[in-house]
């Protein structure tokens, strides 16, 4: 009887240990993705549909948040914030259409692409919402960002920002 209890306890402990290890791996993946994104901090210049755009990325809040600002000279340039939320990397986009979609990031196995999938949105979606964002890391001074917006009827529109570091 005692050996049975001991065996059961051992199984429970091993299961808990395996679960904890798995959780640590997931957290570590999100942290790694966040660190890779934070390495982009600086000022970037590039083009979108042939139009010149500037992007700045700034690590803030004691390293707990990364702020992304797109500057195309218009009044509607959006802000995007990145932060860790337990075991996931979150993106919150403060959109010029007035809503705030959130997305969850997932790094590709080769570590070259970080894709953000839509999670949820606060605010009205009558004018559509940002749906999907992909960062592709080319080298420390060159990356691309693909921004995809879902119109109110679900049709997607977007394009790729090709960015080179200036600072």
């Amino acid at each position: 009887m005692k050996s049975r209890i001991a065996l059961s306890l051992l199984v429970v402990l091993l299961t808990a240990a395996a679960f904890a290890a798995d959780t640590n791996t997931t957290q570590s993946d999100a942290q790694k993705s966040f660190d890779k994104l934070k390495a982009l901090a600086g000022t970037w210049e590039g083009t979108f549909e042939g139009h010149r755009l500037e992007v700045t990325l700034r690590v803030t809040s004691m390293g707990n948040a990364l702020m992304h600002e797109m500057k195309g000279s218009g009044p509607e340039d959006p802000i995007t914030m990145f932060n860790l939320d337990s075991d996931r990397l979150l993106l919150t986009h403060y959109c010029d259409v007035g809503n705030r979609p959130r997305m969850v990031g997932k790094m590709s196995p080769d570590g070259k692409t970080l894709e953000f999938e839509f999670l949820d949105v606060s605010g009205s979606t009558q004018a559509g919402h940002m749906q999907h964002v992909t960062f592709t890391f080319i080298d420390p001074d060159h990356h691309t960002e693909k921004w995809e917006f879902a119109m109110a009827d679900g049709k997607q529109v977007g394009g790729v920002l090709d960015l080179k570091r200036t600072k």
Partner: protein, 131 residues
Amino acid sequence: MDREWNDSQPIYRQLRDRVVAMILDGVLKEGDPLPSVRNVAAEYRVNPLTVLKGYQQLVDEQLVETRRGRGMFINEGARNLLLQGERHKFLAEEWPRVSATIQRLGLTREELLQTPADGQPSNPAEKEPKP
């Protein structure tokens, strides 16, 4: 197109409305190309993604078509389609408010018909304030 934007609705929708007004006013005719995204973004100082959204809205409304490698063009029948839509929108959304104001002020049909569209009295003497 006016370069000023307001906060009442997203800029891409204001951009859509301006293109619609240009089609209705005959500034843009059926078969005409739309200015490039790059040019509109530069000229009106907006994000190119905003212009793309505005243009996509026009495509979704079947007012504009994309010709691969050539750009976007005003569809045949776009003006009629717009007139139908804009008339319906005016009668459903704006007319009830205008009609209520006319009744509240007791304006007669004759007074309305005699008043020019700019609201200014046709008799210059009426413009001068009386001492």
